[in-house]
Symmetry: C2
């Protein structure tokens, strides 16, 4: 009676999204632009992290943001208020961004005028992990209140990302979040995952993250004989 | 340069899911079973709320849980530890439960033996809102650390739900979460939405929620001349 019964549902996911993503990557290489795809649950702090990173790097890089949202444009308004250009993709229900949507968004930016473009993906730990957007770097944010067991439940996201940002570290004190367990689980699944611990509220850890990102951006741009 | 450019992406969502959901509802009515669909972001507290509700109502109702997950069975193990039967649906990538999956799960339960079945949907504020599972009541959980602006960003979820549980109220003190703004936005979109404020950690507000749910369950079962 109390045993667990298990039903597996398998789903075919096939698409020419990969090809389109490769075209984006080639185009960005030609134009010497670095693109960053930011993924997370709703409310984990995607917009806050992007804004903090824009502020940190504004003296050294020319930046723009592609905002994905189902309905609203509130995040684009926040980016605009910071003085950076924003292209809003309104998916009208779709739960992730894909390469064709990003292609359409990039067509609205003069790529010669930017070094770094952020994509803020839809708030969702599932489908965004399956769709290559053509970005150079995939990052995910996990916030402390979400719990340390999310690696077990959303393994694909932790597998496809290059960087894990643990946000809302200011909540750690009152919480049973086990940072060591998270690190262990994440690295078992993805040994190359870079982990940063930050608080977008207090600012802790953001300097280290921004410096690391700047180094990555420079490496791409200089390797390509950029300017 | 800093204006917001907008790209709309529309998507056709058509399915015979609705028909299958209606068949489930008729079957549950015949068997005198009430079914509850619990939806939320990852880490908002779905499993915790279900476990607290099982504990509150175990003397008066016979209950079981259908657990949806992409990969793991950790939530089913928690339910089993509480002494209740769990059926695990492993979607293998799909970001929501649909009526055919729930039909398969219900086939693994002796419905004559239960009054109340919980569905714990996949952690996602988007797609689960689009798929009728055949449940009698749709509830969503929003946790305080996620922020009070989620109504604007995930309006469909707030529209299809009967109940909004605001969880992790113990985090409210240190937060800029505006409970009044949330209530106003949610009721503008969905005036019939019942809102409960709880903390699954401290137990606050759970008695009121459980009593309200018990009343709903009894109304359905007695109206149908149950026993």
């Amino acid at each position: 009676m109390d045993e667990i019964r298990l039903i597996d549902v398998r789903k075919n996911i096939l698409s020419d999204n990969e090809n389109q993503a490769e075209i984006i990557r080639q185009n960005l290489a030609v134009k010497n632009v670095f693109m960053l795809n930011v993924m997370a649950s709703p409310g984990a702090g995607k917009t806050s992290l992007i804004i903090q990173t824009l502020r940190s790097l504004k003296e050294v890089l020319r930046m723009a943001v592609i905002e994905g949202d189902i309905e609203s444009i509130v995040d684009s308004e926040k980016i605009q208020k910071e003085g950076f250009p924003a292209v809003q993709i309104r998916t009208g229900g779709a739960c992730h961004l894909d390469a064709p949507m990003v292609t359409a968004a990039l067509a609205n930016l003069d790529l010669e005028a930017f070094d770094l473009v952020f994509i803020e993906n839809i708030g969702n730990l599932i489908c965004p992990a399956e769709f290559d957007t053509g970005a150079d770097l995939q990052i995910m944010i996990l916030s402390v209140p979400e719990g340390d067991d999310k690696v077990l439940k959303y393994p694909l996201m932790f597998t496809v990302c290059d960087v894990l940002i643990v946000n809302k570290m200011d909540y750690l004190v009152d919480s049973d979040f086990n940072l060591e367990a998270l690190r262990r689980r994440a690295h078992e699944l993805n040994p190359r995952l870079q982990i940063f611990e930050v608080s977008c509220k207090t600012g802790s850890g953001l300097g280290e993250w921004s410096a690391w990102l700047l180094d990555k951006v420079k490496t791409k741009l200089f390797t390509a004989d950029f300017r």
